[in-house]
């Protein structure tokens, strides 16, 4: 469609700064913009978020649309979709990208249908077809067992992008961009949800998504006690503890440390998988790690196919000996 121009990312603000997923989206958008000869814009929705505009420009936006309104303080589907719809219709972008996040997965799916287009969710690769100039979107399916490539003839072309699948550009504080303020013009009565309370699970130490070393445990750990040992090892390595889904579902560890398709996506330098078999849905969350170290008693476990180093055996024997040796070698 000739009228649709530019690539718009839906940015997210986190504690008044630009969320890392939004920096990644801007990085992806800049690449597409180079292929298409288009410009990149960022849409920032919220309350008291105007400060994020400058950061978005630094990370690659040519234009930033700010919709700042007290009614947009919390993410509420009706308000955010109406706002994004309004800006999208005004800007008429060729491509809209959002993060595969709590906000993005709710917003993008509903917005796509509101705009009479299609969206492909949780993409890990975006390219432009040389002839049609349409997006070719690769996403994991079947719990990570397979990948599928999707396209659509409809505009705007939409995708949500998985965390850490794309790289941000190097921030450049000399970049120039335009900031456009758009009035939300919302009717409070048309917003049918209310956020009554936000409950943040307290996590000690380094955040899982930011840690350069992650020590994760699986079903084979057998109970909450075993995770204390993993936590100690994570502390010694100045890293964070994670888990596959079964320990979270069993209540051994908080749900917020689940690594996997429906949990956190991590890509540390070192990911130590202890008693984790390596289901596809778990690999979806840790497959981007630079080095996976596997400790598992089953030499046929799928995790060894993903790992760089491995030890076959009982974690109850291996983890204490490994922890002791690491302490000795690193002098911690």
């Amino acid at each position: 469609m000739a009228d649709n121009k530019g690539i718009m990312i839906i940015a997210e603000a986190l504690n008044s700064s630009l969320a890392s997923i939004s920096k990644e989206l801007l990085g992806a958008a800049r690449k597409l913009a180079a292929d298409l000869g288009d410009e990149v814009s960022a849409l920032v929705i919220g309350s008291g978020i105007a400060g994020v505009a400058a950061e978005a420009i630094t990370f690659g936006a040519d234009k930033v649309f700010i919709v700042d309104d007290p009614l947009l303080k919390d993410y509420r589907t009706d308000a955010w979709v109406a706002t994004a719809e309004k800006v999208a219709k005004q800007v008429n972008p060729r491509i809209i990208l959002a993060g595969q996040t709590t906000i993005g997965r709710d917003l993008a799916s509903r917005l796509a249908f509101r705009l009479n287009t299609a969206v492909t969710m949780d993409c890990i690769d975006l390219t432009v077809d040389a002839t049609s100039k349409q997006l070719m979107l690769t996403k994991p399916v079947y719990g990570g067992n397979a990948r599928a490539i999707f396209t659509s003839d409809l505009y705007p072309q939409m995708a949500t992008v998985r965390a850490k699948a794309m790289s941000p550009i190097a921030p450049d504080s000399a970049r120039k961009g335009e900031v456009v303020t758009v009035a939300a013009g919302l009717d409070a009565a048309a917003i049918r949800t209310n956020v009554l309370q936000k409950v943040i699970a307290e996590v000690e130490g380094i955040k899982l998504e930011d840690a350069s070393v992650v020590v994760s445990g699986g079903r084979g750990i057998g109970g909450p006690e075993g995770f204390k040992q993993l936590e100690e090892l994570a502390k010694i390595l100045k890293g964070a503890m994670g888990a596959s889904r079964p320990p979270c579902d069993s209540g051994w560890v908080p749900e917020t440390i689940q690594v996997g398709l429906t949990g956190k996506i991590v890509s540390p330098d070192v990911y130590i998988a202890v008693a984790i078999s390596g289901s596809s849905q778990h690999i979806a969350g840790c497959g981007g790690s630079k080095n996976i170290i596997a400790i598992n008693r089953d030499p046929e476990a799928n995790i060894f196919k993903e790992a760089r180093f491995g030890v076959v055996g009982d974690w109850k024997k291996i983890v204490p000996a490994f922890t002791a040796k690491v302490k000795e070698l690193l002098g911690r």
């Binding site: 299609a118 399916v141 079947y142 049918r192 209310n194 596809s280 060894f304 040796k325 070698l329």
Partner: protein, 266 residues
């Protein structure tokens, strides 16, 4: 409370990864022999969410499923857990759709059911992993949505939903009728009871064809797709693991520590 739960029959996601095969000629998954399909796990949790409300407040639960070759033993499972009726959109014209054309057919069926306070879906199907059908149904019906719920209660004519977030959860109140998608944090779905299984045996599903729900033929199934799948493939795994050994497990563990320090990973 009148509740509708949308459930999908999928290949068993717990089948071993090694048994997962794709036929490149058709871009389709070859079902592993001897592994029967199941209801997508998040959809089973959606059934559980509805049952918990029924336990607390009473009400009726209708199960809605779209597909062909729906095994009665599989799609009747929600009935054996305590749901009241099963409606199947079972016709070749309904299948091979995308999230949009599937949601359109489901929404038209929901309109035919008529009375509803809450529509539940799983947060995403374990095959397509898209997580869009819920939003699309809500958009077509013009009702609010809350996605990725870990708990749902009904209080004073509204639903109170604990919505999973990256660092915990938030408590969201939503006007009814609403569409809610459910995540695994809700907890294990209940087992079927003997009584439930017996009663499910006696209940025959209601089967609706496209003409029964007044859909426009061009908008359902493959013809109604807005996105096209060009290719389905399995990522190639390199599998170059170096197994660290030793005299015994403790010794291997110490050797692993030495190795990781040596290659400067630690």
């Amino acid at each position: 409370m009148n509740m509708i739960v949308c459930v999908k029959q999928v290949p068993d996601p717990e089948a071993p990864p090694a048994s997962f095969k794709i036929d490149p000629a058709t871009n389709k998954v070859v079902p592993p022999p001897g592994v029967p399909p199941v209801i997508s796990p998040f959809d089973e949790q959606a059934v559980e969410a509805a049952l918990r409300i029924k336990d607390a407040k009473g009400g009726k639960i209708s199960i809605l499923s779209l597909g062909i070759g729906l095994l009665r033993d599989v799609v009747k499972k929600p009935l054996s857990m305590g749901a009241d009726e099963l409606i199947l959109l079972e016709d070749p014209a309904f299948i091979e759709g995308d999230s949009w054309s599937t949601a359109y057919a489901l929404a038209m069926a929901i309109k035919k059911i008529g009375q509803f306070d809450i529509i539940f879906c799983g947060r995403q199907a374990s095959d397509t992993d898209a997580g869009q059908v819920g939003s699309a149904i809500a958009e077509i019906l013009g009702i609010p949505q809350v996605t990725v719920a870990r708990k749902v209660e009904v209080l004073d004519g509204k639903a109170r939903v604990e919505k999973v977030t990256a660092d915990g959860y938030e408590v969201v109140e939503v006007n009814l009728p609403a569409l809610i998608t459910v995540s695994n944090e809700l907890g294990e779905p209940r087992y079927a009871t003997i009584k439930g299984i017996m009663s499910a045996k006696r209940k025959e599903p209601i089967v609706w064809k496209p003409a029964d729900i007044g859909v426009e033929p061009g908008k359902i199934g493959a013809t109604g797709r807005r996105s096209k799948m060009l290719k389905l493939f399995q990522p190639v795994r390199e599998g170059k693991v170096e197994i660290i050994t030793g005299e015994n497990e403790e010794d291997a563990a110490a050797n692993l520590a030495r190795k990781l320090v040596e290659v400067k990973l630690l």
